[in-house]
Structure formats: C-alpha cells, structure tokens
C-alpha cells in the first residue's frame, strides 16, 4: 500500500468526505525536492515552503516559538499545510489538554503532502478543516474551544486570499456570539475628522453593553490652538509636540486609575511611541483604528510597532506598509455610519428651501474638488456647495453657501435629506479623481444611512460594501452630468436606491457592526484574554460551574451576582471588604498575594 492510501485510511472514518475529495483531486501542486539533510522538502510556485537544508529543524524552531502562547483547553489552528513538518513539530509541543486543527486551503496540495513521507499516528488525531471559506469558518466557530491561530508563512503565503476570506467570515460568525462585557478605554484625538467618529465608536461600544472610558482630548483643543498663534513655526511645533506628550502621559495616568481590558485609540489620538511601549510592558492590550488615508497622513510610520493591533480602512499596500514599519497585526475595518445620527429627517418647508437643491456637495475645499465641482455647475439644475476651506475658489463662489462657514453635523443631515442628488467626491490633493481610489469614506455610509441619494466616485473597496443597486458610482468626471440628468428625472428610482442603501447600512455598516468585528478579531487573536471575556466565560456563574475552577473558590464566586464578570481584583476586593479582623483562608491569602503582583504589573504611573 502506498503512503497516500495509508494516510487516507487513517482518517477515512472521521473525515470520509475529505478522503473522497483528496482521492478525486489530481494533485501536482507541490514540487518535491530533497533537502541537504536528506529528508524531502518542497517548493510551490518556485518558492521553498520548507527549509532546503533541514525541514525538521526549521519546523521545530517554528513550533517552539508558537507553542509559548498556546494554553491548555485551546484549539490550535494551523494555516499553511506544506509537507506538515511544522504540524508534526507543533503536536510534539502541544500543551496538555490542547487540540490541533489544520486548515486545508488546497486539496491538491494536501494530496501531494500525503504521498511524500510517512506520517505518524499524530496525523490521525488532527482536526482537518476544509471546504470554502464559509464552510471552514462554520466548522471552526462550532468548536467548543478558544481558537489559537498559528500561521506557517512559507506554506500559507500562496493561500493568503483564502485565509483572509476565512478570517472575515469567522470574525463575522464570532461577532454574533459575543455576550461578555469588556471595559474599553477609547482614546480620542484633540480635534479633526476622527473626533466625531470617536463619539460614534464610544456610543456603539456602549450600545453593545461594554463599559467605555472615553479619554477625551478634545477638551484640550483650545490650549492646542493657542500654540498656533506663535509666529515662529519652530515654537509652534515644539509646543504642540510637547503638549501632545503631556496628553500622552495624561492618558497613561487615566488608564492606570481604571485599567481597561483594551485601549482603543482613534486616528490622531495623542499617544507617543514611548507611551505605547510602556503600555505593552505593563501588559495593556492596544489597538488603533486608523481612519485615515495612509498615503496622506504618515505618522503611522513612527507608531506602527507601538500598537498591538492596527485596523485600517485600506487593504493590501497599506497593510504591507504597516507591517514593514513594524505593526504586529493589521486588519481591514471599513468606515460606517451611526443610525442614531445619520438618519432620514422630515424637514419643514423653510428648511427644505434653505438646505434643498437638485445637486449639493458638503465638504472641505480640497484641490480636486476645486477643480472638478465647477464643471458640474449648470443652468439645468440648482447646485449648492457647503463647507469650509474654499478660500480663493472663485469658480465655486457663486454656489458656496454661508460664505464657506464650517457646518455642523445637524446641518449636514438637513442638506443630505433636502437634496435630490448628493455628490460624494473623495478628497485628494491632485486635480481630478483620486488615482489611488481604494477606501470608502465615511460620507458614503452617512449619506446611505440618512436615506439620501448619492453619486460617488468609484472606489476599489466600494463593491464589497454596496452593490450597484444600492449606490450609483462614476469612474470619470465626464460621466457625471449625464448621471445627474438621468437621476434628476427619476425621483422614484432615487428613493428606491437610497432606501436599499439605508437598509444595507442598517444590516451591515453601522459602528456597532464595526466594533463587533473589531472585538471579534481581537477575541480570535487573544483567545485567553479578550476572547474568554467576550465568550462570557468570566461571569461568576460560569466560573463557578467550570471544572477548571479550584473548588475552594466556588463559595467566593457564589457571593457575586451570577452575570457579574469576576476578575482577580474583584475577588481581592471581596476579601478586603470582610474587614480587618476576618480570619483569612489560604485561598484568600494567595489571592491577595497574586493581586499585589497584578497591581504592580498594571501600575503605569
């Protein structure tokens, strides 16, 4: 009997469908080559997927590194199959009570692997995950154990797209199952576009039932602006930079007074690399939602290694750049809308008159908008432009409202609702449409959530957020006039599209969805930290029922409300609350001892 058959026979009973699929596959994806040491190695698409010198030794080093983070009770999930040297090594390093699953992204490559070298009994104990990304995500989500992912990069690289799809789907599935309550500290900016988004994020997290501490730096805006009055730019920059450092220290102090489970910083949050490194040393988990165009604002280059997790509104090149700059984990998290703010309005007649027009644009006067918008002024329709930073844009002056004053969110909403066609033109510093048109701006989601009809410039990431039935887009500026004519003539069509877009936002694109996704991603990557809280495994009731909880703790846990999350610090506080004359058990003393060390680890100041 050949090796392939022997291996398939070993798993036939448990994975009959997988065995059939392998049998039917033609294989031939891997090119087998002998390593210097004598054991078989392999290449795929011309790249080595195991060491050309000693695959076993390489696999052993990789596994030793991975296993450090792997805890009992977790299901390890390996991405990247190769010739399974690394899986074999990981099995050998497995902690007691842990299980191992391997994701098979390519049945043909798997078939090749099974025919190359004899695999031991460990092979039959692996939980194989296979199918399309939805099926694999469902299989993984159904496992009753925290997941710990291990990516063996050389073999996983050719399947990066499949793994990304699996990740997205799994995140979505896990997001629907979150019911634990986290304490999240949201660190906001001093001012700017990410400030309102911070408010939406805070509200979304609270709506999801989490406790939120908002480290609000907008209260310092006036002081920060004061430095702008210095004539010498060196003075201005020096003072603003030092001020940001002070705020960074202030953030650490605030975090230290009420340590959160997660520090979520929004773009432009005044957090220095030194402060972030300090937080890491003190075991605080940090994430940044970088709601900026990474090509325009480049401060991420300095901060990349500082945050544990980065979430960006762009993909591919942005992620590569962040990883090159030292970011440990980067994920995609698009913008969204807040339906409690971005909503359909019924306007009074005078409001309709003031804010209404056939065509409108709300936004700042970036170079491309100054160049493009005048081309769409016509006697065939009324056109109003709202917003600030339009100084010197003479061609826009006749249609600029309120002399180019900055307008607030309420006014924006009135304009969106009163306008027949809202133009949504992503900003850029050139003279035409954005040449690197990838991310989707918040305005797209906000207009859709408001039930307003929009024409938006096409973006690479738009189709995965909205279909053509939900959003009308254009790829060139000269398409726009005819689109305006067409849609001005079709109010019913406009309403249908706008309503469909709004439904899509409510279904998938609110800040609550984004925060669920973000937490699901973090829970997946940190199964024993955030993951266990999100799975609701830290409540008094669940802890008391767990067989892994020492029996001496059970009476103590019963004194908490069943759904109350209980941490070491809560147990210690309960012991202290009994008063100084209480007789302390050995369990009590150990808790007090551990708590004294925990407090020191988390003491930021």
């Amino acid at each position: 009997m050949n090796l392939l058959q022997t291996h398939l026979d070993g798993i036939r009973k448990t994975f009959p469908d997988l065995v059939s699929a392998v049998t039917e596959s033609a294989g031939g994806v891997l090119t087998i080559a002998q390593s210097r040491e004598g054991s078989p190695s392999a290449t795929q698409e011309g790249q080595w997927i195991h060491s050309a010198y000693d695959p076993r030794k390489e696999a052993q080093s990789w596994a030793t590194l991975q296993a450090k983070e792997w805890h009992a009770g977790e299901l390890g999930v390996v991405l990247g199959v190769g010739l399974l040297y690394h899986v074999e090594a990981l099995v050998a390093s497995k902690p007691l009570g842990a299980r191992l699953a391997v994701v098979i992204s390519d049945i043909a490559a798997f078939k090749d692997a099974l025919a190359v070298r004899p695999l031991g009994p460990w092979f039959n104990a692996i939980e194989w995950i296979w199918g399309n990304s939805d099926e694999m995500a469902t299989q993984l989500a159904s496992k009753s154990a925290p997941l710990r992912f291990f990516t063996y990069a050389p073999a996983a690289r050719p399947y990066a797209a499949q793994h990304q799809a699996l990740d997205v789907e799994l995140r979505r599935l896990l997001a629907t199952r979150q019911h634990g309550r986290l304490h999240v500290a949201v660190v906001g900016p001093i001012y700017g576009g990410s400030l309102p988004i911070t408010k939406y994020v805070v509200r979304a997290l609270e709506s999801l039932g989490h406790r939120v501490s908002w480290v609000d730096h907008s209260i310092h805006h006036a002081s920060y602006e004061r430095f702008n009055t210095f004539r010498d730019p060196r003075h201005r920059l020096s003072m603003q930079s030092r001020f940001a450092d002070v705020l960074s220290m202030g953030t650490l102090t605030e975090l230290s007074e009420d340590p959160p489970d997660l520090v979520l910083a929004m773009a432009q949050a005044p957090m220095s690399l030194g402060a972030l490194e300090h937080l890491r040393r003190k075991k605080f988990m940090t994430a940044m939602w970088f709601v900026e165009n990474y090509r325009h604002l480049t401060y991420w280059q300095q901060l990349a290694p500082g945050y544990d997790y980065w979430f960006t509104i762009q993909q591919k090149d942005c992620h590569d750049a962040l990883r090159r700059a030292g970011a440990p984990h980067v994920s995609y998290l698009p913008m969204a809308a807040d339906p409690s703010v971005h909503r359909p309005l019924t306007l009074a007649t005078n409001e309709q008159l003031e804010f209404g027009s056939d065509l409108s644009f709300v936004g700042a006067g970036y170079a491309n908008r100054r160049a493009v918008l005048p081309r769409w002024i016509s006697k065939d329709w009324t056109f109003k432009v709202w917003g600030n930073e339009w100084e010197g844009a003479d061609a826009v002056a006749p249609i600029l409202q309120r002399n180019g004053a900055r307008i607030d969110t309420d006014t924006c909403l009135k304009v969106f609702n009163a306008t027949a066609i809202n133009l949504n033109l992503h900003s850029n510093t050139g003279e035409g449409l954005d040449p690197a048109a990838d991310f989707v701006n918040p305005r797209t989601f906000e207009l859709a959530a408001a039930g307003a009809f929009q024409l938006v410039d096409q973006r690479a990431l738009l189709p995965e957020c909205f279909t053509e039935d939900e959003i009308v887009s254009f790829e060139a500026t000269d398409e726009v006039p005819s689109l305006i004519r067409t849609w001005l003539r079709d109010p019913v069509g406009r309403r249908t599209i706008a309503d469909t877009a709004r439904q899509r936002v409510l279904r998938q694109h609110t800040y609550e969805h984004r925060m669920k996704d973000l937490l699901a991603e973090l829970g997946m990557r940190e199964p024993d930290r955030l993951g266990s809280i999100l799975r609701g495994e830290r409540t008094a009731e669940v802890l008391a029922a767990q067989t892994t909880t020492p029996s001496e703790l059970t009476p103590m846990l019963r004194q908490f409300a069943p759904d109350q999350r209980v941490e070491l610090k809560d147990l210690a506080a309960q012991i202290r609350a009994r008063g100084p004359r209480t007789e302390l058990s050995r369990e009590d003393l150990l808790i007090l001892m551990l708590e004294s060390y925990r407090t020191e680890t988390r003491d930021l100041v």
């Binding site: 703790l553 070491l568 001892m593 551990l594 060390y597 925990r598 680890t601």
Partner: protein, 391 residues
C-alpha cells in the same frame, strides 16, 4: 527552640539595613532557628549576613508570571504550582515571622509561612492600623522630616528589639577573586571605590564631576588608585568618565563595572580604603563590610533616612530652602578629598556635612560644627514607640 523567619523583600539597601535587626535577634535568641526571606536576586547577599541559619530566595518574577496568568482566572494546576513552590521554600511552617516591609506581599507572605506574624500592621493583612513603629517610619517617609532614628534601628524597634550596640559586619565572601579583581587593594593607595551610577536618575552625579574628582584625587594623592564600581548598565557611564582622561591617569583606574557578582562586589568594597558615591544601596554595603563611606546626598536622598549604618561615615547633604529635592550647582569635591588627606574638611556652599556615630540607641548623624552628642529626642522616641511594641 523556636523557628523564626525574617522577611525583607525590598531592595539591596534595605536588606543591608536589616543586618542590625538580625544581629539583635540572634543576640536575644541564640538557640533559635533564624531564617531570612529576601528577593531571589539578593539571596547571595543574604548569605553574607551573620546570624542566619538559612537564606530563602523569593522569586518575584515568578509571582508576576503567576499573577499575569491569574488575571485570566486561577486554574487548579497553577494553584498546585504555587503550593509546591511555597512548600519547597518552607517545608515547615515557622513559629513566627518578622515582616519588615509595609507592602501587602511581605505581610501576606508572613501570614502564609508562619503561625504568628509580627509586622507593620497591628491586626493582620487586612488591617489598615499600623504599629507605632511602622506609623513612625511611614510618617518620616511621607513628610521627609529628619528621622533621628536610623531605619536599621527602626527595624529593630518594629520587632521589639533594641539595636545591637556594635554595628554588625558582613561575613567575608568565600570566593577567589578573578584576576582583574585580585589586584585591587594591592600596591599604592589609598584605593577609593567610586560608585558611578544611581538607581534613581535624579541621583546621578554628572560624569564630568566624577572626572574632575578623579583628576584632583590623583593630583593630591599620586599613589592613589580609583575603582569604578557599577552594574552592567553602568559600563557606558564608566567609559564616559574615563574617555578624555590622559593615559597616565588611566593606568591608575580599575573599571570593574558590570564584572562583579554580589560576593565579588562585597570583596572589592572590603579592599577599598574609602567608597564614595551617591547610590545609597552600594554605600550601605560598603559600610556593612567595614569600609568608611563618603556620600553625596541630593535629589530625594536624605542623610537621616538612608545614611550608612555605623560610625565614621561622612555624608554631604545638598541643602534646599524648602526641604524639597535639590539639583546641586556645586559639588563637594575638595571637602571629600580633605577627608582622604586626613584633614578637617572645608565647608562647601549649599551643602551640609554630617558624620555618623553609634551608641546604645543605634546610629545617628551629627552635623559638622554642631555638638556630636546624640539628639535628645531619640531616646524619648524609643520609649514612646516601644511602649506599645507588639512583642
């Protein structure tokens, strides 16, 4: 015969300052078993303290790891691991523990490892009521007023003991020094140890001040030798001190920063005729091995709080008008050289000079130009605080 555990989980200086208490304890209970629990990295230092039967290392790093894991919930295997560690440290429970730190972990350790715990808290680990001695030490640390009772003696008071009278000395380390260290103290002299660094950056003497001190020292005492003392992280500082010095001077400097274990450090300090510096921990150790010290105290360092124990140590204390931390503008280079030349040290503007003495109530410091009689309030304090002593 009773079994006693002394718990000192603070830093090097505090451990050295525990020596008088251990000496007094041994004097009072010559037949008892007396063990010491100290931080694992300082265990070697503990073995140099006379009067002890056993030194037990407390692995704080391991407790940190356990605490980090316990944040995710206490698992039975972890509980088992902790109990195994405690059983390995102390197979049999002690009759009593003397706890010298006011930190929860030391008090809890005492409660875990002994039947009776004598410490800073009057009624066990959950109590907030301090014993009179502990309250006194905390008050001194908080208000930073002159502590006329040395911390070493306060440790004795906390444990119901009187100071030993004669300052104890460390045991001589039983090691063969490396070739580099072997030369120290041989030929020429005097050999002066300079402690180049300080645990608190605010207490660092500037590199150029040390350089100036060395140049002046070797000018006034041409046969003198300098030993640069410090840990691994202070090697660069030692190099900076030496960099611009002429080669003729360099031949008279021994740089041993980063090269010594605690036993080797103790041995090196023994071979020096004086040790000078601003880092209180090594100064305490120098005093404990019997070497006179010259301390420059500034920033938050206070002679009455952390002056070396015993007689004949000299401290220059930077003066501030409001009693707050001081950044000195001048340095007592010449006055400290006067001491090495056995001359009466001249005065240094903005610094006061103090010399230590020892009597039946322990060590005290008296200011140059003032009476060297012991401060009167000391004895009164002893009576007041000892009246309500726990033991």
């Amino acid at each position: 015969m009773s079994r006693t555990l002394v718990i000192q989980l603070a830093r090097l200086g505090d451990l050295v300052q525990t020596m008088p208490m251990i000496t007094a304890l041994r004097k009072q209970y010559p037949r008892d078993t007396i063990d010491l629990l100290c931080p694992e990295p300082l265990r070697d230092l503990g073995t140099l303290i006379p009067g002890l039967d056993r030194v037990i290392g407390w692995d704080g790093a391991r407790w940190h790891r356990w605490a980090e894991r316990a944040i995710q919930g206490i698992q039975p295997d972890q509980r088992k691991e902790i109990e195994q560690e405690l059983a390995a440290l102390c197979p049999h429970i002690y009759d009593r523990a003397f706890v010298l730190n006011q930190h929860t972990r030391a008090i809890v350790a005492g409660t875990l490892l002994a039947k009776e715990c004598v410490g800073p808290l009057a009624q066990g680990p959950l109590s907030e009521q301090l014993t009179p001695w502990a309250a006194y030490v905390r008050e001194i640390a908080r208000t930073r007023r002159s502590n006329r009772i040395h911390l070493s003696d306060a440790f004795c008071g906390m444990c119901g003991l009187l100071p030993p009278g004669t300052p104890p000395r460390c045991l001589t380390p039983l090691i063969s020094p490396s070739r580099n260290l072997e030369q120290i103290g041989r030929g020429g002299g005097p050999w002066i140890g300079i402690i180049v660094g300080a645990g608190d950056p605010a207490r660092l003497v500037p590199v150029d001040v040390w350089r100036a001190w060395i140049v002046r020292f070797l000018a006034v005492l041409p046969r003198g030798r300098v030993v640069l003392i410090g840990h691994g992280a202070e090697c660069e500082r030692a190099r900076d001190i030496q960099q611009p010095l002429p080669p003729s001077i360099l031949g008279r400097i021994w740089d041993i920063t980063g090269q010594t274990t605690i036993h080797e450090l103790a041995q090196t300090l023994t071979r020096c005729q004086h040790v000078i510096g601003s880092d209180t921990g090594p100064l305490h150790l120098a005093a404990a091995v019997g070497t006179p010290t010259l301390g420059w105290y500034f920033a938050r360092a206070r002679v009455h709080e952390t002056g070396p124990y015993g007689s004949g140590h000299r401290i220059w204390q930077a003066q501030s008008e409001d009693g707050g931390p001081v950044v000195p503008a001048t340095w007592p280079i010449e006055p400290s050289l006067d001491v090495l030349l056995s001359e009466s040290p001249r005065t240094q503007p903005q610094w006061s000079q103090w010399t230590s003495q020892t009597d039946e109530w322990g060590t005290y410091y008296s200011e140059a130009g003032q009476s060297s009689a012991p401060p009167r309030e000391r004895e009164a304090l002893w009576h007041e605080l000892s009246h309500a002593m726990p033991v």
